[in-house]
Symmetry: C2
């Protein structure tokens, strides 16, 4: 489980590491980026915010265009930017579409052949990646981890948080796929990774279904742009999550941001707010 | 001189416009990005900071990865991100190297054939682009313009400022080519655009030569990373500019930033400082 450092880049007073490590869950080497603020030390380890990227992205997009480091540096929070799928599995159809296979792991463990070969992003993000990070970087605090994400990664952040009470101190999301069982992206992914009939498993990876079952209160921050074409097309469905929250008495705050689209211009515009949200829980 | 809007993107509370307009100086359509803060209006026009990008870049790099918008939005300053050369001139050799021709206009008006055909970035940036911007956007203030830039664009910012007293309220630069006559990049560019023998013209586009002749004081902010390979290779030579400043009694502050490289991670880390520097002069 050793990590290879491909680059160490001075960034916002801290350092951005471009890393790679062998993953058993994903059956390949997985690249990721890790921002470590200058305040982090083994005697005063920094908490970690995991940012899960969306369809077509790698761990580079958020690190280059997300602007999380500015506020994270100020707050003394590390940020991990993992990849979005295994790479180079040589599975037929893997690279055929932008919304399934490579770059589209959906943060689930596939149960359907041939995707079981490496499409286990759920295990990778919840177990393997943190284990690798915290065994290598003693300046990071494994007891204080939060999670956020964009689009498919927003779905990942919400579901990983809701499925694992206590694992993350807080959760937030940018334009998340909030009810994947009821949108085209989610239906295609879940059909492909789980099969069309295993609706129980679909439900276990759907934030709108999971939220009412979550033990205790939630304080979930979501931003969505009203100019986001995927929102308009019904791929995100934050209203469904809001409705579920209201019925179950859970806390979900969705900010509908006037005119914002689905791009990293949207993410970077509100990245500081999401780091602040995580900081409330990571630093108290 | 009409401007075509290819996209309007909500960004840090304002809007980022992706624009294109016909340029006589460059003999082609020129694309650029323009960030307009929400505070700008025709009754209260916003000042403008021009960011000149470096070799290989377009107007997109700074807009996507520079994060000038965060502080510019806060301060109520617009930011223009022009391209770095004419495009598609079909001049032989135009696309052969990364440091000459396309993406490498060096912010000069070429005097040597065949580059005279469109390589007139000096006229484009100092005359044509501002004329186009201020005739189109009444919410921007043509009386308050500052300039900054990176690498080749840092050279551009410094020389345009020093050659045109009063045109810009302030200047700053990230890892600028500070003495082009004495480095490989500059020598190649000036030989190509001016000819090897016209050393007078070389000198007229060299910040280190121009600084002593500038009428009045200067307050020039420069950041350079000590881990910048181009700095180490002697392409930037900020020490030469510092020496000229000291001898001439001009103000140049060069911050040598420990371990930072030449990338947009470096630029974004200090972008706020450069917007603050411009704000001191644009907003007083």
């Amino acid at each position: 489980m050793s990590i290879t450092t491909n680059a160490t880049i001075a960034d916002f007073g801290g350092k951005l590491l471009k890393l790679k490590h062998p993953s058993k869950a994903c059956n390949c080497d997985m690249a990721f980026n890790l921002f470590i603020p200058s305040s982090a030390s083994s005697s005063k380890p920094a908490p970690v915010l995991i940012y899960l990227a969306g369809l077509t992205c790698t761990g580079d997009n958020g690190a280059e265009k997300g602007f999380f480091q500015a506020k994270a540096s100020e707050k003394g929070i590390a940020v991990a930017f993992p990849d979005t799928s295994p790479r180079g599995m040589n599975i037929e159809g893997e690279d055929e579409s932008y919304d399934f296979g490579s770059g589209a792991g959906f943060y689930v463990d596939a149960t359907k052949e041939p995707w079981t070969k490496g499409y286990k992003m759920y295990t990778y993000i919840t177990e393997e990646l943190p284990k690798a990070i915290f065994s290598e970087y003693k300046e990071l605090d494994k007891e204080r981890v939060s999670i956020t994400g964009h689009s498919m990664g927003g779905h990942g952040a919400l579901t990983l948080f809701l499925k694992n009470p206590g694992m993350y101190k807080s959760v937030s999301a940018f334009a998340p796929i909030s009810n994947p069982s009821n949108c085209q992206w989610g239906q295609k992914a879940f059909s492909g990774y789980f099969g069309e009939d295993d609706k129980q498993r679909w439900s276990e990876h759907d934030a709108t279904d999971l939220l009412p079952k979550y033990p205790g209160d939630t304080d979930i921050l979501i931003d969505v742009g009203t100019g986001d074409n995927f929102y308009k097309q019904g791929q995100l469905l934050p209203e469904n999550l809001e409705k579920a929250a209201k019925e179950a008495g859970k806390g979900v705050r969705v900010n509908y941001r006037d005119g914002y689209d689905h791009s990293y211009f949207f993410i970077s515009s509100f990245a500081s707010d999401h780091v602040e949200h995580a900081a409330k829980y990571l630093l108290r």
